[in-house]
């Protein structure tokens, strides 16, 4: 076993964040190595994302990052030449009780202050945006036309292709099994088959982030929980925006669905209480639970046929916000972890930010963003639109 020393940056994880980060770092002239435990790119949680991309968050950091991501996704074809099935379909959050009405309306202030176009529509106006919604009991909802959707599979793979073109190296089926730390620096990264070192080591290991952290001797409060999703047959386009229903119900805190460019409905539910752990095997409770909730909100969906179900992991943090920035304990360990199930939409802009941090080329707004996502924060707040 030899030690390969000639890298500037080692990224652990070729997923939602690691792959775009590899592209932006390599493009900036850095020599990048990506280590991935599975056989090909984006095969962890990335491919299990349903593809929604929204800036409709409740905090300035994610709003800012996702607005930038949307800019990248919406210009992807022009910039890179790849078809990633971007669709500026927008997001709607529906309100059937005064509770959601209040939450959604309260959030508008902060959302608007960061440049997000998002508005409240009363029932009848809202029904014009989504005619197939069940009008019974509907109060209204918010609609953010700038949000959209794309294929996580195609986007991540496109980033991979371009990262390779920029000279980034990827080693697949090569899990990281240990790290050597000396004087608070990672001096070597060991995989099943080799040893590597670099000036900077990036933890972009998604659901495995805490384990990777432990290898460097640090505790990261990242804990995966499991969400189940499904896709239907394709049908002619009938649904414009993503529909998010944040009403709690027995077994789930919210669920969401949209019609992808291929004509398929993709949907996912957030279990309540959380299902902690890394089990991604299919359960019998998912479909009955999500199906009745979806049909109650959109009766038209009752005839669409479900094609496939799957389960993916949300690497959660205590407050529901990502952990991003230099590790306070290990000086060359850059953390991009705990993306809380939003890695796909955060990936492009966070990949850029990660490159700026690594290259010490911060932009004016970056300090504020980094402050919100700081690894040394106290994790006291709570994300309202998880």
């Amino acid at each position: 076993m030899s030690n390969h020393q000639n890298y500037d940056v080692i990224i652990i994880g070729a997923g939602s964040l690691g792959t775009p980060a590899a592209y932006y770092l390599a493009k900036s002239g850095r020599k990048v190595l990506v280590l991935e435990s599975v056989p090909s790119v984006g095969q962890g949680s990335n491919k299990r994302a349903i593809g929604g991309i929204r800036a409709t968050h409740s905090d300035p950091a994610k709003i800012r990052l996702c607005l930038r991501s949307i800019e990248i996704f919406s210009n992807f074809k022009e910039t890179f030449g790849d078809e990633i099935e971007w669709d500026p379909c927008g997001y709607t959050f529906v309100a059937y009780t005064p509770r959601e009405e209040k939450i959604l309306k309260d959030l508008l202030t902060i959302q608007k202050s960061y440049g997000l176009v998002n508005d409240w529509y009363d029932r009848d106006e809202f029904l014009r945006i989504v005619p197939d919604l069940n009008p019974e009991g509907l109060i209204g909802g918010t609609f953010s036309p700038g949000d959209g959707s794309a294929s996580p599979l195609l986007s991540n793979h496109a980033y991979y292709t371009h990262a390779c073109e920029e000279g980034a190296e990827f080693r697949f089926s090569e899990p990281v099994i240990g790290m050597k730390v000396k004087n608070d620096r990672i001096v070597a990264v060991n995989t099943c088959c080799d040893e590597y070192s670099a000036d900077i080591v990036v933890n972009a290991a998604g659901a495995d982030a805490a384990e990777i952290g432990r290898m460097a001797g640090i505790d990261l409060p990242v804990r995966p929980d499991s969400h189940e999703a499904a896709i239907t047959e394709p049908v002619a386009r009938f649904l414009g925006p993503m529909i998010v229903d944040i009403r709690p119900a027995p077994g789930s805190s919210n669920y969401y669905f949209y019609q992808h460019l291929t004509g398929q409905i993709i949907f996912c539910i957030t279990p309540s209480p959380n299902i902690w752990g890394t089990d991604i095997n299919e359960t019998s409770s998912f479909l009955p639970m999500v199906a009745s909730r979806m049909i109650n909100v959109m009766p038209r969906l009752k005839n669409i046929r479900v094609r496939r179900t799957w389960r993916g992991l949300y690497p959660m943090t205590p407050d529901g916000f990502p952990i991003f920035g230099w590790s306070p304990q290990i000086s060359n360990f850059l953390l991009g972890v705990g993306l809380c199930g939003q890695g796909f939409m955060l990936g492009p802009s966070m990949g850029e930010l990660l490159t700026r941090v690594a290259n010490q080329e911060l932009q004016p707004d970056d300090d504020e963003t980094l402050g919100f996502l700081s690894p040394s924060r106290k994790f006291e707040g709570q994300e309202q639109l998880k």
């Binding site: 056989p39 090909s40 793979h157 394709p234 019998s284 109650n296 005839n303 799957w310």
Partner: protein, 697 residues
């Protein structure tokens, strides 16, 4: 419009039907009440049901089994799989061109909780293995639920009009598949501890050990079995060739379903790819249904199926092209011709050997794969599970019947029932029934041409023994210890009473009887015949053939027997010359004109071969990625959408693996795509309990 129905059949009864009217593109058509939309359309000569959204190419029936979505139509506003849904009086059916429109629904339906049912044993699959297992369990009083996706039990047995091989003692050998199905169904339905759910398809085995079942095609139910017995049979392998998605290209199962179950004629002239038992038998079934069989290609130097099946087909006048492969199915909106070529020892086509044949259908029978995903999932999730029949190992239905019986006992034993040890001899019989065809021996010719003597044109070692039970004097003998040995006649020329039971009863139609008593120079030869009585007349001169299909000249028909005991096999007696009498093995049924190649071969120069027929992904696209270094089929899926379609990679996964093999990538370096539920697509409303019944009690 011409009627494409089968109105006479030598084996299958043609039932009386109530006629109803339905509409195809607003045009009124006639259907039989209770038949599927697909059958009704086929009966009216309609075989293109829609066009693919990606490239506009025509779509039609492919699996006829509810597995793919190629046969989708829009019926009364809803997108439906036409092969599974019955046609209804005044139903308006339209082609599915591009993506269907989801019907508008304004009110949420009433939704009920999904029923959960606990049961000691759940049997998935009501074919030969599942039924036999359930019968054994039922005899022990074990409570079972048996689910099967079809309207009637029996699995593929219900499509088999031929008499079965195997052991008379163990597995009903000598009885026709359809009749075995009836017997097993009757037996299982008489057992009070077994609940039978037909039209009920298993959708998933979940990690919480529950099994999701779509009951009666509409109600979603979760079953909690203590023990799961998987008897889900096999699925057909497919083949990559140009034009393989054209309507008119079918799997053998689909073809047999249309012909033998639905009694429609999907074809006038059929070409068969694959010389295993499935392809050979399907050819025979086609001929019985009055469909011309233009030829059969087999890539190997010899057919892999039983020699008696091959001989039977050859004797009917079907040319078999061994060491040949299909290059393309040709046509614009459906199959119009097929092009084949000889292959070298590496199975590569040899340029210059191409031949084209006019035909309207191509039947693919290139092997089977076990449907074992439920068993795999059950094992992964720690469910106590057993697997029987083809789902465990591909073999003949007779082997599946016996395998089911053994597994039934194993389940009982696992439940702690006092069944004792399973006799080791059972496992031996099980293995014998599963064995592949063995050595071919020289055909014995009788030494003395006098008296009466049966001639056994059966010279390959296969597990089969009905002939030994047929002779009332016990003069035909098969080694009881190993029924794979070839039978022998142990009498002399003067002890056979010419009862003809062996002639009419041999499942391979491989026994003739030569009677020299009336005129030693012009003996009477009795030949089995399984075509309509109307095709022959007394005093007709017919072409007679030897075992291998060689023409022995003509002979005059003296008698035609159709005894009740013959079970629909006719015995035809011809007068023959002494020299050839013992070599006669059959009567030619098919005219040579149908099997002639076309003058010029048709070169199909359209798009590259389709590998994923759901998403229309070509071999070229996938091969390019393999050459770029892709080894993970999940990554190929990501980039091309291959394996993302309605069928869930049931068709393309093996073809993609074959492309890897062609590119020299060893199988252990190829990563298989992840397997996820559901088994078939099911409406969301079903999972929401739209059709749920109230909890009993």
């Amino acid at each position: 419009m011409t009627d494409h129905r089968i109105t006479e059949h030598p084996i299958l009864p043609i039932p009386e039907y109530e006629e109803i009217e339905f509409f195809w593109k607003n045009q009124p058509l006639k259907a039989h009440k209770g038949e599927t939309i697909a059958a009704a359309l086929f009966a009216n000569g309609i075989q293109v049901f829609g066009h693919h959204q990606k490239d506009g190419s025509p779509l039609g029936i492919f699996c006829a089994n509810g597995q793919c979505s190629q046969c989708m139509v829009i019926a009364d506003g809803k997108p439906l799989k036409s092969c599974m849904e019955p046609v209804i009086e005044n139903m308006h059916v339209y082609p599915n061109d591009g993506h269907p429109v989801l019907p508008v629904v304004t009110q949420a339906p009433q939704m009920k909780p999904i029923r959960e049912i606990s049961i000691p044993v759940l049997v998935i699959g009501g074919g030969p293995a599942g039924l036999s297992a359930a019968i054994e369990l039922g005899k022990l009083g074990v409570e079972c639920i048996l689910v099967d996706d079809k309207h009637r039990l029996g699995g593929k047995l219900v499509l088999q009009t031929h008499r079965f091989f195997g052991s008379t003692e163990a597995v009903y050998a000598g009885t026709r598949g359809i009749d075995i199905a009836t017997k097993l169904e009757k037996e299982v339905r008489a057992i009070p501890s077994i609940k039978i759910w037909t039209r009920s398809i298993c959708l998933a085995v979940y990690s919480d050990k529950k099994v999701g079942v779509l009951k009666d095609g509409k109600e979603y139910v979760l079953i909690n079995p203590q023990i799961l017995l998987v008897a889900t049979g096999a699925r057909e392998k497919f083949l990559a060739f140009k034009g393989n998605t054209l309507p008119g290209v079918y799997g053998a199962g689909a073809f047999q379903t249309l012909v033998n179950r639905d009694l429609v004629k999907p074809s006038e002239k059929l070409f068969i790819v694959g010389g295993g038992n499935v392809g050979l038998i399907a050819g025979y079934h086609a001929l019985q249904a009055g469909i011309g069989v233009v030829g059969l290609v087999e890539a190997l130097p010899e057919c892999g199926g039983y020699k008696v099946h091959k001989d039977k087909l050859v004797r009917m006048g079907v040319p078999i092209y061994t060491s040949h492969t299909i290059l393309s199915a040709n046509g614009t909106d459906k199959v119009e011709s097929v092009t084949i070529a000889k292959v070298n020892e590496k199975f590569k086509p040899i340029p210059g050997t191409e031949l084209s044949f006019a035909c309207d259908s191509v039947l693919i029978a290139v092997g089977l794969d076990p449907v074992n995903e439920f068993y795999q999932k059950a094992v992964d999730f720690g469910v106590t599970a057993f697997v029987a029949g083809d789902a465990e190992e591909i073999a003949e239905a007779s082997a599946a019947i016996f395998s089911g019986k053994i597994k039934g006992y194993e389940v009982a034993k696992a439940m702690g029932l006092p069944v004792g040890e399973i006799p080791p001899a059972w496992y031996q019989t099980g293995e014998i029934l599963k064995s592949k065809p063995g050595n071919i021996k020289e055909e014995d010719q009788p030494d003395l041409q006098a008296g009466v003597i049966p001639v056994l044109h059966c010279n390959q070692e296969i597990p089969c023994d009905p002939c030994s039970a047929l002779c009332p004097q016990g003069l035909i003998v098969v080694d009881k210890k190993d029924i794979r040995s070839v039978p022998s006649f142990i009498g002399n020329n003067y002890c056979c009473k010419a009862c003809l039971r062996c002639v009419a009863g041999c499942p391979g139609l491989a026994i003739t009887l030569v009677d020299y008593r009336a005129n030693p120079d012009k003996p009477i030869v009795s030949i089995p015949y399984e075509f309509s009585r109307e095709t022959l007349n007394l005093a007709d001169r017919v072409t007679i053939l030897d075992t291998e299909g060689n023409n022995l000249g003509e002979a005059e028909i003296l008698h035609i027997y159709a005894l009740q005991a013959n079970d629909r096999t006719l015995v035809v007696q011809v007068e023959a010359n002494r020299e050839i009498a013992t070599r006669i093995a059959g009567i030619k049924v098919q005219a040579e004109t149908i099997t002639h190649p076309m003058y010029q071969y048709v070169d199909h120069m359209e798009d590259d071969t389709i590998i994923c027929r759901c998403e229309h992904v070509t071999a070229g696209e996938i091969r390019a990625l393999i050459r770029k270094g892709y080894h993970d089929i999940n990554e190929i899926k990501t980039v091309t959408r291959a394996a993302m379609g309605a069928c869930g990679a049931k068709t393309c996964a093996t073809l993609i693996r074959r492309l890897f093999a062609e590119e020299g990538i060893p199988p252990n370096q190829v990563i298989d795509p992840s397997k996820r539920p559901l088994f078939i697509e099911v409406p969301l409303g079903t999972f929401a309990g739209e059709n749920a019944e109230d909890e009993p009690r």
